[in-house]
């Protein structure tokens, strides 16, 4: 199995804005990969996915509910989300699709046709 993803966090430090790396889950299916990324507070408008240099970068900008009052107990992180994954060469970058539901982004990364398992008919 080849490398699908590799954390790339060194690049983040160079920038002024700080990001949180969201927890994720990768499932390999017969046809490709499914990548789930947890980004509470991010909706469709705040989600930005880009591919370049054989890397997939997911940015999630949070739009948090506005609440009246004083913050008296605080556990959440204020930063936006960012995570970069290295794409496996078998993935067809043009066919990646994504959706986000309740702060969980799900990306479908299909394998290119030429690497998909195929039945060969014996004549």
């Amino acid at each position: 199995m080849n490398t699908l993803t590799r954390e790339n966090r060194s690049g983040d430090r160079a920038q002024t804005e700080q990001f949180v790396a969201p927890p994720s889950r990768v499932i390999e299916t017969g046809d490709g990969y499914t990548l789930e990324v947890e980004m509470p507070g991010v909706n469709k408008e705040g989600l930005d996915i880009s591919i370049g240099n054989n890397e997939l970068t997911i940015n999630g900008r949070r739009s948090l509910p506005v609440v009246e009052g004083t913050l008296i107990h605080h556990e959440s992180r204020p930063e936006n989300f960012r995570r970069t994954f290295e794409l496996d060469p078998s993935i067809d970058g043009n066919k990646i699709s994504a959706r986000i539901e309740q702060g969980l982004a799900t990306l479908t990364l299909p394998k290119a046709e030429h690497v998909k398992p195929r039945k060969i008919t014996v004549s």
Binding site: M1, R25, E38, L104
Partner: protein
């Protein structure tokens, strides 16, 4: 407050951290993860997962904001007892389809329970909740007797 079972990091052969490292061995180069080390440590401290919670106090309401990404609203339970707000639920593991070959996860599945003592008395009949973009907002109206009142001087 939440009851958590503390385990010494050195003495937890069956903890989530171990599961993660086994998975990592199996999948080898599938997914290189410096990030998992911090999550693994969290897994040793908590027996389940404990979602982040913020609490605000305003003039009329106490509001709790809980981060619960990727759930269905039917899976979330909210209760109020003795001045303690509890949010609990279960994130079910989606049954994997036959085609799945391998998986690498940092996401927690299973039950969670998060309790917090409220700073003031609230009216149990005036509690409302919304779940949007993976964030649960619970608004609890303060009890009349603890609301700040203006007293007119005659």
């Amino acid at each position: 407050m939440t009851l958590i079972r503390y385990q010494s990091p050195e003495l937890s052969p069956w903890s989530a951290a171990d599961r993660l490292s086994n998975l990592r061995d199996e999948l080898n180069s599938f997914f290189e993860l410096p990030f998992s080390s911090s999550l693994a440590r969290a897994g040793q401290l908590f027996s389940g997962w404990s979602p982040a919670l913020d609490l605000y106090e305003g003039n009329d309401n106490v509001t709790a904001i809980v981060e619960l990404p990727g759930m269905r609203k039917e899976e979330i339970e909210i209760s109020l007892h003795d001045g303690t707000l509890t949010v609990s639920g279960e994130r079910k593991r989606e049954s994997s389809s036959n085609g799945d070959k391998a998986e690498r996860t940092e996401r927690y599945v299973g039950t969670f329970r998060r309790s917090i003592a409220l700073p003031t008395r609230v009216d149990a009949n005036k509690v409302s909740a919304t779940y949007r973009d993976g964030i649960l907002t619970v608004t609890l109206a303060k009890a009349e007797e603890v609301k700040p009142k203006q007293i007119q001087v005659n």
